[in-house]
Amino acid sequence: MEFDVIIGNSFRSGLGPQAAIFALAAIGLNLHYGYTGLLNFGQVGFMMLGAYGMAVMVATWGGSMWVGIPFGLGLSVAFALALGIPTLRLRADYFAITTIAAAEILRILIRSSHATDLTGGPFGLQAVAGDFYDLSPIPDGRYGIGTFSYSDSQVWLLIVAWILVAICAALVFLLVRSPWGRVIRAIREDEEAVRSLGKNTVSYKMQALIIGGVIGGLAGIVDAIQQSGVGSENFEPQVTFFAYAALILGGTATTAGPIVGAMLFWFLREATESFTRELSGQDWLPNFIADFLDGSEGAISISLTGLGLILLITLRPQGIFGKREELQLDG
């Protein structure tokens, strides 16, 4: 059993591009759910539109990535409006149902064979991020120790991605501490009370949905850059729930929560995966365990991740950065 491999892999994953992408998605969700109380189960839809917006602009229409990025973000805004206008007046649960359905409908449309000319349909789009990697100032090579290492292009991506994470976290931090943020936090507690004090709550919820959605769109764009392509299989509903897991693990309505939560989530994912992979190669294992492991490493590792999440959330129901006393307050 090579623990240095497991640990190296885990750190590589915990600080890697997936963690940054999910940190961004979770920061957007934090604005939606943590601060405004909007139960958005369709964050992956915003990510998908960001990613596909950019990819279609580059791969299908032959445009520049630097036009594709604002285009993708613009589509995220449009998605927020399309989702929000009919549903934000309704109760929170209707909104939640609509978001998950809308994101899934969008994914099915994008991957349908009729859309192949535009989105690549089931094949997705490739070679969409050349412009980004051309800018890399990082000399060729590998950086890091042991398995905790990244290629030069990954290092370049990680620098940009984590800077984006920092910027978005700072933006949300400043927003929620402004008078605007006081209104959205109040909406989370009781929308009617806020209306009774002269605030147009529907408009505030829409603003929060757009800003958090654009941050989600940015997460999708980083994902498209990281894979240098897009595919609809990367935007299944579970992405939203992984982002929720990261957010709750780190602590909702906190600044560092979504970031550290995403790091911890991907650290755990890789740690359990590396561990089961290493374990299944051991000679000393009794046959029945080896047979059991053989071929089901993926399923077992994700179960172990789930177990880890359950343990963490049992020990700290408020998340790593959350305040326990807030959980005990009732409306």
Partner: protein
């Protein structure tokens, strides 16, 4: 007592009959109707509320008092009818626009914002904070000065309501009575000209009730119109200038407290017995005679 030093009552001499015109109405309701399925919850043909007065709305459970509140404050839409606040027609306006126009309400079940501090609850209610706009939220200097003004106002009001020591606590940690106080103080932060209180004393202990009622009187002295729903007849008799009695959605009677309390129809609506039996038991009559003898601290505001 507050009544004795108050200016002459402009409602004196107004006939105590449903829908009677007032000298200077701030809120006028016409043919307001709301039904839920087959049940008509509110059906008010005409009702006026005098500016600067304390008007109580009473009535048995299910009389439509809260629905009436919800309708005129924009929290529910009527099937039919109209109402004017200060001459402006309010039908179809959102609740937030009605509140901005100066007509602010509280709720029967308090709506304190649990995970906001008491001070944040208060500051939220202030009007005219440009930093609440998304395009100015990040430009701190554009709202910091106003924020400071609001903070000073909020702290002064909290002090007045005796909950200043809780200002940095989560509002969710307040007791039921303190929440009622906070909700009323918060409504005042919005600088209303007409405040509508839905059962302001429900669940509040007697000592707090007295201080709450003093605040209500103080509001009237500052020229704020108060309309409140109340079940406690002692409270109604004690502070209201005018009483509106609702039953089955309609206005059954209105008039000065003493007149209403001895109205046989009102007694019947409350006690459900025929008027000939109940002539000796007027709701609130006895409490009033007890109340008026009590000594009370005069308003110091």
């Amino acid at each position: 007592m507050a009544e004795s030093v108050a200016p002459p009552n402009p409602l004196e001499g107004i006939a105590p009959e449903p829908g009677v015109a007032k000298p200077d109405p701030i809120l006028v309701v016409d043919d307001l109707r709301r039904s839920f399925g087959g049940l008509t919850a509110v059906d008010v043909s005409h009702l006026e509320f005098q500016r600067g007065a304390i008007t109580a709305i009473i009535g048995p459970n299910g009389a439509g008092k809260t629905t009436f509140f919800n309708l005129v404050t924009g929290f529910d839409a009527p099937n039919d009818g109209n109402w004017r606040y200060d001459g402006r027609r309010l039908k179809g306006r959102g609740a937030h626009r009605i509140a901005r126009a100066g007509m602010v309400r509280t709720f029967q079940l308090t709506k304190t914002l649990a995970k906001l501090t008491v001070l944040d609850n208060m500051m939220l209610a202030a009007q005219g904070q440009g930093g609440e706009r998304i395009d100015r939220a990040l430009i701190r200097w554009s709202w910091a000065a106003r924020e400071e003004q609001i903070r000073v106002q909020a702290e002064a009001l909290l002090d007045e309501f005796g909950i200043a020591h809780m200002k940095d606590e989560y509002a969710g940690t307040l007791s039921g009575g303190q929440r009622k106080l906070l909700e009323m103080a918060r409504a005042l932060m919005a600088k209303p000209r007409l405040i509508m209180l839905d059962e302001p004393t429900a669940g509040v202990n007697p000592a707090l009730t007295q201080s709450l009622l003093e605040h209500v009187r103080g509001l009237r002295d500052q020229g704020v119109t108060v309309v409140f729903v109340e079940h406690d007849m002692d409270v109604v008799m004690d502070i209201s200038d005018w009483v509106v009695v609702m039953a089955q959605g309609a206005v059954l009677a209105e008039g000065p407290p003493v007149t209403v309390a001895s109205n046989p129809q009102v007694i019947e609506a409350y006690l459900g017995r025929s008027t000939s039996d109940g002539s000796g038991e007027t709701p609130g009559k006895e409490p009033r005679s007890r109340e008026t003898g009590d000594e009370q601290v005069p308003e110091d505001g």
